[in-house]
């Protein structure tokens, strides 16, 4: 009991001490404004992506599935299909203001899973809902745009000098909840579309945590009138 209390105290201390990384102002007119770099992180228009997704679930087990994501940045809608490598659809859902699950084969049929997945997709592919509250550079010199969403969550869009980028999502209590790292070129090398990462790595922090490594198989730009 004493140990549990100690752990709880330590946890409360960690939570209460959580803080956001400090953002330093950009000095010198030669440096581009961080907002310019941040805009290039998210795909513009309508796209269809196919990723080979390696999911590491609690317990350390790995699962490989294929994920089709069709997104529209203009109306902020997304549709996601998860299937086996052999093409059997396990999950099919659409986000358009609200979530609609078209198909869910256990264990992919829970609303919690669907909601979490769509939130991850929105984090990866769409500019944050909320306004820019701060921008500049981090201690390591990377550019950062900090947004605060209406629900209080903070999203940092971080672009590094080698043009790779990172997203960090914090709870309203400044606890790190998600990180997304994007890699280009050498690591995967499938993309022939500029600005589309070859590999994305998402980590969900906390309990139960999980990680998704998404390797791009193809990225298809869709015509604006294409139905989503």
């Amino acid at each position: 009991m004493k140990h549990i209390s100690l752990h709880l105290c330590a946890l409360c201390l960690i939570i209460s001490c959580s803080s956001l990384p400090k953002v330093f102002p950009v000095t010198g007119s030669a440096m581009p404004a961080p907002q310019q770099d941040c805009r290039h992180v998210f795909p513009n228009g309508k796209w269809q992506f196919l990723h080979a997704i390696e999911a590491t679930v609690p317990g350390g087990e790995n699962r490989l599935v294929m994920g089709v994501t069709v997104i529209s940045s203009n109306d902020r809608t997304a549709q996601c299909v998860i299937m086996t490598i052999e093409g059997l659809v396990l999950f099919d859902a659409r986000y358009d203001q609200g979530l609609i699950i078209n198909r869910g084969v256990p264990p992919f049929d829970s609303e919690g899973f669907a909601g979490g997945l769509i939130n991850d997709i929105r984090l990866i592919f769409f500019m944050p809902d909320g306004p820019l509250i701060e921008s500049g550079i981090l201690k390591n010199g990377s550019s950062v745009c900090r947004h605060q969403n209406p629900d209080g969550r903070i999203v940092d869009i971080i672009t590094h000098t080698d043009k790779s980028w990172e997203l960090r999502q914090y709870s309203k209590h400044f606890r790190l909840t998600r990180t997304v790292n994007a890699f280009f070129g050498k690591r995967a090398g499938h993309s022939d579309q500029p600005g589309i990462p070859d590999r994305l790595e998402l980590t969900a922090h906390g309990f139960p945590g999980y990680a998704l490594a998404m390797e791009l198989v193809e990225a298809v730009p869709l015509r604006p009138e294409s139905r989503l």
């Binding site: 080979a52 490989l64 069709v70 549709q79 052999e86 659809v89 084969v105 294409s226």
Partner: protein
């Protein structure tokens, strides 16, 4: 017995018709014909192309690879692109292997159980036993088509129906289309088919 001319002229078309009908009865016109043809097949190797069609896709997802079947129940179903992987079925055990970043990893995900059902189904097809599956009811249609419909509702939520087109060549399939629902289906087409070749047992055990 000698037939007179009018009787011959009346009987001849009937005989020709009957002969033509006999010639036209292909290996794929009856369950017995299918089983008899498939019974002569001890192994099959073929390449396949798979197209996944879904309403949301602007163009189908294409994958491909090769498969090897050894009677009675050994199967290797291998994808060579876009992701290298293989389903191996041998001695009643099914395994899935995936090549990731140069390493071979065994995947035991929940979907493997479903794929095991599919693989068992394929081995039944290869043996011509379309009508012997407890999970699907089979109906034989014209033009070498077989339609399999799930008997149980639970399976019907995953697979609505399967349509197989048998090849003109005895004991082989031309295509398989798996309908998951009205908006989603997967079509497999086979080529470079080789039958009754001796296959190494390791094909069904190792990736």
């Amino acid at each position: 017995m000698i037939m007179d001319r009018p009787k011959i002229s009346q009987a001849l078309p009937k005989v020709i018709l009957a002969a033509a009908a006999f010639i036209c009865i292909g290996w794929a016109d009856t369950w017995d014909g299918i089983k008899a043809a498939a019974g002569k097949v001890t192994s099959v190797s073929a390449e396949f192309t798979q197209e996944k069609h879904m309403k949301i896709l602007s163009r189908p997802l294409v994958s491909g690879g090769a498969f090897h079947f050894q009677a009675p129940n050994s199967l290797r179903w291998e994808y060579q692109y876009p992701v290298q992987s293989a389903l191996l079925m041998h001695n009643g055990k099914t395994k899935r292997y995936i090549r990731r970043n140069g390493k071979i990893v065994e995947d035991a995900g929940a979907s493997l159980q479903t794929m095991q059902v599919v693989l068992q189904e394929i081995t039944l097809w290869m043996r011509g036993r379309f009508d012997e599956n407890p999970m699907f009811s089979a109906s034989l249609k014209p033009d070498r088509k077989i339609v399999l419909s799930p008997k149980e509702k639970a399976l019907a939520t995953i697979i609505q129906r399967i349509e197989l087109i048998l090849s003109e060549r005895a004991g082989m399939m031309e295509s398989v289309t798996i309908y998951e629902d009205e908006n989603s289906f997967t079509r497999l087409e086979f080529k470079n088919v080789v039958q009754n070749r001796s296959l190494e047992a390791s094909l069904f055990r190792e990736f």
